[in-house]
Subunit: 224 residues, 2 copies
Amino acid sequence: MTETAPRPAAYTPTDRTIPTRSRERASYDRETVHSILDEGYMCHLGFVRDGAPVVLPTLYGRVGERLYVHGSTGSRPLRMAGQADPGLPVCLTVTHVDGLVLARSAFHHSINYRSVVIHGTAHQVTDPEEKREALDAIVDHVVPGRSYDSRPANAKELSATAVLRLDLGEVSAKSRTGGPNDEPEDLGLPHWTGVVPLRKGYGTPVPADDLAPDVELPDYLTTL
Amino acid sequence: MTETAPRPAAYTPTDRTIPTRSRERASYDRETVHSILDEGYMCHLGFVRDGAPVVLPTLYGRVGERLYVHGSTGSRPLRMAGQADPGLPVCLTVTHVDGLVLARSAFHHSINYRSVVIHGTAHQVTDPEEKREALDAIVDHVVPGRSYDSRPANAKELSATAVLRLDLGEVSAKSRTGGPNDEPEDLGLPHWTGVVPLRKGYGTPVPADDLAPDVELPDYLTTL
């Protein structure tokens, strides 16, 4: 066995990942960041095009300290990352909304949420093995276990798909939990105050029109 | 009554709002754009800071053809919009995920979604009446009707809150609906295929610890 240095439990804060406000809501803890990323599959990817910002929703997957997004080789950010040297500066953000915080005052209304913001430079993945692993991770983020129950990409599909890698280096989590923080002088106001939790769930799976009737719903979908 | 020119039913496509791929998924229809925006309250706001992209989740509200976001006067994008002349170039994106599309092939896995992307320049709102209207719209996006059942912002709170306005001009919607699009040669594969719908809902409201017991849950929360 080769010895490796222990991985620090937290990411190092930088000027970009230290918030100007509500610093108590920020976290650089590696496990916290991973757990927020692993609970989702849709991120918002920001990049700069002709000097202006662009923000696009896209799927992602995590493998260790690497985040992957994919797209057609013809799509803008993936073309730009391929052309750019040394890579495409991006900001990738994942947000979960957990509850609506209703205070007595309009001013103190808020949202309970957990988010991760990653700053870095995205690079196109060229190694075929890494590309396959990344695509599996993206599919498995959407439905855990699904990559084992579908036909893997063939050579033609792989060459039509571009994958971007973004290393988890300059990264922070931010979250808000708990009830409203009303001003002392507002406590007697007659408005209902508290938190409305948000629930996410899945409806009944709808089979494709051309699905053979003997193909049963797999376990990983009944337990989703 | 003054006569006004009829508002066009669609936004004018531009180089930035015409997708490089899947153009059939794009729409510039005004009502489609409004309905996607009005169904949500959380957007991802992109801007450029020191040449690099930044993407932050934030609440928004719509009033006609104007979108508003708010924040502390000390927060970065709001400070930048205040300093910048003539405004802060932004990209504001709203995304709803409607279903997971599971194809027989990994390559054809997808997401049913609806999104709106707005490109433009954000300006700080200085008119007090517009600022109040914007803040009401943001609260009412989260919970319709809530702005009438909370204490409005006072002068001190208003001055601590900055509001950015982004006009709906360069805007497009994009959506995917329907089942998977498998390759003909994959139709005999044994994998389950179809769509898993996503459901969003609300849990039971949790009253604040200091809520007086005689304050009842308002109707607009029981019907949320």
